[in-house]
Symmetry: C2
Subunit: 204 residues, 2 copies
């Protein structure tokens, strides 16, 4: 069998296996390279990265470790599938250091890689064409009232169905990152200039 | 076609496609669930996570962003494939904020998820059975002399062949993380107690 035919067969069977549900329940995997915005469009690329990914590393200042920057693997969502808002929400408990740290010092960042989405091809995860983004800002309890709570719940539970069953006695709460700075690399030549307004107003 | 037959076919074609090189050059993907240590063995699980992964999020204190914890997607290696030392090495340039931050304030952490290795099955990336580790310590230039430089080069370039061709005028240097604290979650019940000595002395 020729290489090209094999690649097509692998792709076809992958799609079938996804449709049949032999892959996991975490969304954001049914992505083709064609869905990725042009790297010249920094705002669209940034929003795509955030909406397609289901997890990242959420960094806080660790009071328990001498002020060290403490990164933690965390599931997040910026909206229901296909309806990303750009603002990442989390479901955190103070049984975990990340929430404890954030309640003492709001400074935080969320770092996301394109690599696990599967659209980087054969390049190294650190290759500049394999996009990466760091959203820096303040990590706070989402206390915008019932409307925000419904948004956060739908955003998170749709992409992370397991969260519905997380232990009630762990007192999970919805948190969000108020973004103040964006560091995006999606091509050669260093980080792309991108303001928070440009990011939030971008259309997917 | 029955579901089970389909799953076997997908697996078989995946293996063939890996052998034919239609997958990327980054190592650490040919892993089966059977290779994963028993979660009760925290030291072995931690070393496995670090040696199997090719990238993580390296967190530093950002002097440019008001002391915020800044996470960056970074390729790393703790040794040649199958010869992990447990100590993560990096190839960094001060054109990137992570190296600039580390030279001003060594406090850092490296956060790694089992999720991209592919052994978490259908569970959510934040599920406690999908292991995650944060190594906290000091990020410094690896200046232990020619022997350490050879080790770092072999460790990184074997897992990240692209690094050989990174631009010479970017002045990349080898850095390493001097580990001081380990935060590992590999099952329910909170982080596993694990000292740096236990981690470094564990055999894979």
């Amino acid at each position: 069998m020729k290489m090209e035919a094999l690649v097509h067969l692998v792709s076809a069977i992958y799609v079938v296996s996804v449709l049949l549900g032999t892959h996991g329940p975490v969304y954001g995997r049914l992505v083709s390279v064609n869905d990725k915005p042009d790297p010249k469009n920094a705002a669209a690329t940034a929003r795509w990265l955030v909406s397609q990914n289901s997890w990242g590393v959420l960094n806080t200042i660790s009071s328990e470790l001498g002020g060290a920057p403490f990164g933690n693997v965390v599931s997040f969502s910026d909206g229901e599938p296909g309806k990303g808002s750009g603002i990442p929400y989390f479901y955190l408990t103070t049984l975990d250091p990340t929430a404890r740290n954030a309640l003492k010092d709001h400074r935080a960042s969320l770092t996301i890689s394109e690599y696990p989405i599967g659209t980087c091809g054969k390049v190294d995860p650190e290759n500049p064409t394999c996009a990466k983004i760091t959203l820096t800002g303040k990590l706070k309890v989402a206390n915008g009232g019932p409307k925000e709570e419904i948004f956060a719940k739908n955003a998170l539970f749709s992409k992370h169905p397991e969260m519905k069953d997380w232990p009630k006695d762990h007192n999970f709460e919805f948190f969000k990152l108020d973004i103040e700075d964006i560091f995006l690399i999606d091509w050669f030549g260093g980080p792309k200039p991108l303001t928070v307004d440009q990011y939030l107003q971008a259309k997917l």
